[in-house]
Amino acid sequence: MRMLGLIFADEHDANISDLTLKRTFAAIPFGARYRIVDFFISNMTNSGIRNIGVIATTKYESLMGHVRYGGEWDLHRRKSGLTVLPPFSFSSGEARYENILEALQANLSYITNCKEEYVLFTCCDAIGNIDYSAMLDQHIKSGARFTCLCTKTPLNKEQGVRTTVYKTDEKDRITEIQIKKEHDPGDLISTHTYIMSREELLDILTQSIDLNKKSMRRDVLMPALKTSKVMAYVTDEKLTYVDTVSSYLKSNLALLNKDLRRELFMQELRPIITRAGNSSPAFYSESSQTTNSIIAAGSVIEGTVRNSVIFRNVHVKKGAVIENCVINQDCTIGEGAVLNYAVLDKGVIINDKRLLSGYVTHPFFVGPDSVI
């Protein structure tokens, strides 16, 4: 394959800090049995990319434990594969980086040593099943210098979160890049996914390091709009966002919709792969009542579950009622407890008869390993 894939594991938005307390953004669990990074690695391998770097800055233990050498995606090859790239101080001198350009600068030597003709790099807050090879085809066909992935129909994208919006001409050439807090219907919303030639990227990196430039948008893309071809690649695939705890809840619950489930998980030849545990099948007891829900393996359901997403090895005891919730791995919900619009991180214990209730815009969030 002629394209290198780079994934930025961190998303430095305080809005989601609850879920990134002990993990990097890409390692946030999603959809009952995945972590967010699974979608990006799977999209890349499904698009023929065989060499992937995952750039992380902090709290990368669970990310590394999850992806390891990429064996699940058949990426543990002699000549290529998956590499997690923790902070690495190079000429930029910074061990921690706050944005895409700095992260790329810090990994200049990795990118230099790769052989691929093109590079695709992406943030991971827009989850979907995307065929990057079609994006590369367009990039080559259009003769663009940069191609930027964007969507007109972002699902569960919150207002009030910094959003990059493109303006294009009728031929999808980007004419303007805006930062908005409130996005409007029909806006072309950037997913921060870019394709360019690797040589081009290396030039950008060496120059920007020399000139101490720090922003991909301000220092690279904006100046390029006038002088060269920067194209938008507008995907038709559904993309669902995780940018606040509320959108995390909404995006998980959106999987209860059959169409989205099909788009994400049942695309012909484009499976989303994850590292599976060794859990037994989920068990439903005589007293269980489960409707309109996604239930992962290893869970034991004795209570009532409605409109919810339940991760692995969750125990819902008798008489417990769970509605509109996302319950992460290894949680226990006590007898008679009632949960509505709650998001439980990993390993939470809810004692008998506790009542937790939030609302879709303000979910009741419980941090990892808490006992209530």
Partner: protein, 387 residues
């Protein structure tokens, strides 16, 4: 540099399992799915790695394709090692001809070269078609403490079932005094589980003798064990008290699957202290629809369920549509059950379609177990209108 292993396992996985037909029509019995996401062989392999035995020779013969694919490099069981690990051992041609494995003992006899690569002190001989969770390390320790030449794992079975098994008589210390293969008049209730530990030198000796005997069936139970007893070797019984099932028949296969159900199941599969490892297929998570109800069920991944399921074990990639009722069933992978269909007391093999409104099987009380073989399509009920 010389290296060795203390104990290696030889896992007999070549049998046809004809009494499990049609489930074993295209696949060796050890590769038959079990418990929603496992294969039968996962139990023996997981027992090995959980007992710190990291070298396993799997002897294959009958329909090995799917079994070989499933075993792969042994990575699901952490048996993909540079020294040791999982090795598939098929019958082979050699300079002086070659032969199929003539019996369980002959299968091991033909693989002495594999054994000598590891120079083991002890050889554990297993069957790939039993469902159980057993710590072979404890058995090995007892074998060593007894200074035994061979140790045979036994279970105490009801006297009326004893004539189905190889039956041991022992003294009070467990030393075997008599062995009878499927006796009409059993003298004891200690039944062989087909799990043996041998001192390597002794075993190879007796295999050589057995091979020289043209009248031998080359079988452990029928020939080797009786010969060792007759030769005055120290054979001990190791009494195992946990869960063990020989899933040799369709009804025993069905019951063992049912043993994984219940709030305190006889066969607990999610035991952190004794994991059963398996190879994953990639499935999306299971979705239960608005009309779904599941009671006393195991349900694996990739399923879309909108029907009613009672007392059943459900595999992966299953669609059960609205109004369908499934009761007392074992359902393997890639099965679709249409709207309003009624499936009861049945084993549904993989890749089966049951049409809307169709009726399969009947009540457990007054019907025989129904088995739908792989690839079958049961047409929708002809009721004039859709149910």
């Amino acid at each position: 540099m010389a290296r060795k292993k203390k104990c290696i396992a030889m896992l007999l996985a070549g049998g046809q399992g004809s009494r499990l037909a049609p489930l074993t029509e295209n696949v060796a019995k050890p590769a038959v799915p079990f418990g929603g996401r496992y294969r039968i062989i996962d139990f023996s392999l997981s027992n090995c790695v959980n007992s710190n035995i990291d070298t396993v020779g799997v002897l294959t013969q009958y329909q090995p394709l799917e079994l070989n694919d499933y075993l792969g490099t042994g990575d699901p069981w952490d048996l993909d090692l540079n020294y040791g690990g999982l090795h598939v051992l098929p019958p082979y041609q050699a300079a002086k001809g070659g032969d199929w494995f003539k019996g369980t003992a002959n299968a091991i006899y033909q693989n002495q070269k594999f054994i000598s690569n590891y120079d083991p002190d002890y050889i554990l001989v297993l069957s790939g078609d039993h469902i159980y969770k057993m710590n072979y390390e404890i058995m090995l320790k007892e074998h060593i403490d007894n200074d035994a030449d061979a140790t045979i794992a036994v279970m105490d079975v009801p006297i009326e079932e004893a004539s189905r098994f190889g039956i041991m008589s022992t003294d009070e210390k467990g030393l075997i005094t008599e062995f009878a293969e499927k006796p009409a008049q059993p003298k004891s209730t200690l039944a062989s589980m087909g799990v043996y530990i041998f001192n390597t030198d002794k075993l190879l000796n007796y295999l050589e003798q057995d091979e020289q005997n043209p009248d031998s069936d080359n079988d452990f139970g029928k020939n080797v064990i009786p010969a060792m007893l007759a030769g005055g070797e120290r054979l001990y019984a190791y009494l195992y008290k946990g869960y063990w099932r020989d899933v040799g028949t369709l009804s025993s296969y069905w019951s063992a699957n049912m043993d994984t159900l219940g709030e305190d199941p006889e066969l607990w599969l999610n035991d952190d202290g004794w994991r059963i490892y398996y190879r994953h297929d990639f499935h999306s998570p299971t979705y239960l629809g608005e009309h779904a109800s599941l009671q006393n069920c195991n349900c694996a991944a990739g399923n879309e369920i909108d029907g009613h399921i009672f007392d059943s074990v459900i595999g992966s990639n299953i669609v059960i549509e609205e109004g369908a009722v499934v009761r007392d069933c074992v359902i393997m992978n890639n099965v679709t059950i249409g709207k309003g269909a009624h499936v009861e007391y049945a084993i549904i093999d993989h890749d089966v379609e049951i049409g809307a409104g169709a009726k399969v099987g009947g009540s457990k009380e007054d019907t025989e177990l129904t088995v739908i073989a792989t690839g079958q399509k049961i047409p929708p009920a002809q009721t004039g209108k859709e149910v």
